[in-house]
Amino acid sequence: MAFDAPTFSSRDAVVCRSVGKTWAAGTRRAHEALREIDLDIKPGEFVVFLGPSGCGKSTLLYLIAGLEESTEGQTWSFGELVETPSPERSLIFQETSLFPWLTVWQNVSFGLAIRGASQAERRSVAAEALQRVGLSAAMDKRPDELSGGMRQRVAVARALAMRPKVLLMDEPFAALDVQTRARMQDFLLDVWRDSGASVLFVTHHIDEAVALADRVVVFTSRPGRIKTIFPIDLPRPRNLFSREAEAMRIQLTELLRDEVDRAFAEQEALAAAT
């Protein structure tokens, strides 16, 4: 069969067509992480990737960022084929990824320094980005002087300073305590509303998905495929204690349970085999 040109809107923030990824392809250790991913994400949309651990949801994020190459299919962002990383698609990691030898403002303006911007320009952009995350006072501090939550806010500021069209977030709040996490979710929603960027947010917390997402992409366990796309059509700001929110959490829990069970059985079989 001839190759069919994929059809999609070039205005979409992210488009994946039959994307697959096999790690260590062609070797004995080869294993398939992702299979047949088709996804369309609109500009300004908040999408959460939800799935059991090891299902490849983070891998998909890395593929969209352009940090890894897919072994099947292709990804586009605003009509352009994703081949390399781009400042338009900023990635925020689970662990602290601030440069410990730079001050907060130098971290935030790292991307500008790479482009050779002047110190005055870098400082003003950093000041603006830090103001947006409420950390103006911490400009001249070093990362090790900040708490975990503050460090992640700096990481968000660093991403925002690049004026990204897509924010990719890989379990960014996983290392934070429950109270800080709730605050950070509110904070992220504010940032998202102001920036107008699309957010792709990986998590395995159902609560987090219901609190944040416009749509939740539920993944199957290995190899990761899209099990279903679940819209969260609750009005914002959300009352997470409402009956509708509770019903959605229950539905998502049901959807995930099969996959988690399957992942568990697989791991046990694997352990028994070796």
């Binding site: 960022a65 990383p85 400042p87 662990e95 410990p100 320094a113 790479i114």
Partner: protein, 316 residues
């Protein structure tokens, strides 16, 4: 209205707390400074106590007659006659043709010239080895072809003892400073290349990925992320190799350098002079200690971002 009154309350509360802060009994910054001064004094005190204890035990053995002063002369004997020991230093200048026995530099000058010469060899060797090793280590990770061509040879040569390089040093450089410096470099270089590669491989992939998503080129990633990220580890490697350099330089100098601490030790061995051996060991010990202290100072300056984890271990 309600908002205004709340603001007013907050202002009043802040105003009330301000005088209280001013009359606090102590200033934390000053207290920290005075504790730091005490800490420094305490360090000197413990160092003196540690050395004193060791010397005291030795003296005790001597006093009890267990340590033969002909073989193991205690500190008060080998340190007492500085002039007598000093004349064995800087043998090259002292025993130049045409110099009478009483001429030439004084004992103190001789010791200083010898110490200076050996220190210079250690320092130059260490700097050359570090620059070469970090440069080549980074290049090995930077260019894949370079890796394939160079790394096997480096790995092959790294277990070779410096002693084996000694004849090579003499073949290549004859006598003088060059072979001694070559020995220091060759003894440190291969290990430091491997250590550099090890450090580069340990850099968090997140840091590299952040730079990549911001559009950093390969040279920028190496220059702005990898090199600063490996600096702490490299300075630790440098500190360990500093002692290695001191050990090797003595071996190198004991052959045909003309003068240096190694030469003095060889002289002491050949003339059966244990006092001179221990005197030289004491001088080397002090030099090594000072070098290490200076390097630690530099480390704290360069690696300003590293927290001090030593204190955590103290609490265990």
């Amino acid at each position: 209205m309600a908002v205004v009154s709340r603001d007013g309350d907050a202002g009043a509360a802040a105003g009330a707390s301000r005088p209280a802060a001013a009359t606090r009994p102590f200033e934390p910054a000053r207290l920290v400074a005075s504790v730091a001064r005490l800490d420094w004094l305490a360090k000197v005190w413990w160092a003196c106590l540690s050395v004193g204890l060791f010397a005291g035990l030795w003296e005790l053995c001597w006093a009890l007659g267990w340590a033969d002063p002909q073989l193991l002369p205690p500190p008060h004997i080998f340190l007492s006659n500085f002039g007598e020991q000093g004349k064995f230093f800087n043998t090259a200048t002292r025993w130049q043709v045409g110099n009478a026995m009483g001429e030439g530099p004084s004992a103190f000058e001789s010791v200083m010239i010898t110490v200076g010469a050996t220190t210079m060899r250690v320092f130059v060797g260490l700097v050359l080895a570090s620059v070469l090793a970090i440069g080549i280590g980074v290049a090995i990770r930077y260019w894949h072809l370079f890796d394939k061509l160079v790394l096997p040879t480096v790995t092959l040569l790294s277990p070779v003892s410096p002693i084996a390089w000694l004849p090579v040093a003499i073949f290549l450089f004859g006598i003088g400073n060059a072979p001694a410096i070559f020995m220091v470099v060759v003894a440190l270089f291969f290990h430091m290349v491997l250590a550099t590669i090890n450090q580069i491989d340990g850099v968090s992939p997140n840091l590299i990925n952040v730079a990549r998503t911001m559009g950093a080129s390969k040279p920028q990633i190496y220059g702005r992320v990898i090199v600063p990220a490996i600096l702490p580890g490299m300075l630790a490697v440098l500190r360990l190799n500093l002692f290695g350099a001191w050990m090797v330089v003595l071996v190198a100098e004991s052959t045909g350098v003309g003068y240096g601490m190694g030469q003095v030790i060889m002289l002491a061995r050949n003339t059966f002079n244990p006092s001179l051996v221990f005197f030289t060991i004491a001088v080397i010990g002090i030099l090594g200690f000072v070098f290490d202290w200076l390097l630690r100072l530099a480390q704290r300056r360069i690696l300003y971002w590293l927290p001090d984890t030593k204190e955590k271990l103290r609490g265990l």
